[in-house]
Amino acid sequence: MNSTATIFARLAAVASSLATYEGASAIFDETAPDDFLIQDPRPEKPFIVIAAPSSDVALETFTERGRMIVQDVRAYQRRTGSAAELDALMRAVRDLFHNAPETLAVAGGVCDVARVTGPVQSPTSDEAYLGRRITIRLDFRNT
């Protein structure tokens, strides 16, 4: 079961709030590409990075198999003097997942639990950007 694909699919709901890259919403896996980051001026709208899971462990009973996965979703935006847009985006992203497992598409399974903490501040490499992060816990069950 691919949690990154599940998260990516659900983030389509906020696509209109994001910058674009190569004709698609700026949602990246692990890191944003250099040619996107070094645009001058920097992208005005936020972009999202889905991190690799920080934990992925078996969740098993005598009769069922699954995984419990913890994964960060981070968003960044060019500094403009206000983080309001970025904060609003990440609160919306949190609400897409938190206590809403039934809305998530999981190849080969279902999601029984979806819990989110954050958004909180997230570090950046480039001081031109602001960062925010949520942490998602997903309990997947094989079907």
Binding site: T31, A52, S54, S55, P123, T124, S125, G131
Partner: protein, 135 residues
């Protein structure tokens, strides 16, 4: 009929002392393990600096040792933290870039080293806690 007297304050103090022993044992093991993690060689890019090659970590690996700043700055906090809900110990990493390594940034994937205490050493830390409270 006999009286039963329980000194609740004394029992709470005893429970607190036992908890602290367990937590301090965990912190000792955790600090040692996280410093071991930070000494693992990386398999990422090789940089030449000051005539010396340094091989950085690749995405998903813990940070590779360079000049030892991160190892020196990552330690158990000697203060046990007591709140109304919990008694806690913590491993701190106090460089300006610790959080960026642990959590990642817009251009760098995370190089987790603190989370590995959960994912790699959870059983050992639970055992350390048990030993601490039973000593």
């Amino acid at each position: 009929m006999g009286d039963v007297n329980v000194d609740i304050a004394a029992n709470l103090r005893l429970a607190d002392e036992v908890l602290e022993r367990g937590i301090r044992r965990v912190l000792g093991v955790a600090e040692a393990r996280v410093k071991e993690v930070l000494q693992r060689p990386g398999s990422g890019k090789v940089y030449r600096r000051g005539g010396v090659d340094h091989q950085a970590s690749a995405a998903g690996e813990p940070p590779a040792e360079d000049i030892g700043n991160l190892i020196a700055a990552t330690n158990a906090n000697p203060d046990i933290i007591r709140t109304a809900e919990a008694v806690e110990g913590e491993i701190e990493s106090k460089t300006t870039y610790s959080e960026a390594l642990e959590k990642g940034t817009e251009r760098m994937a995370a190089r987790q080293f603190l989370e590995r205490l959960n994912t790699e050493f959870g059983d050992e830390l639970r055992e350390a806690f048990r030993e601490g409270v039973e000593e």
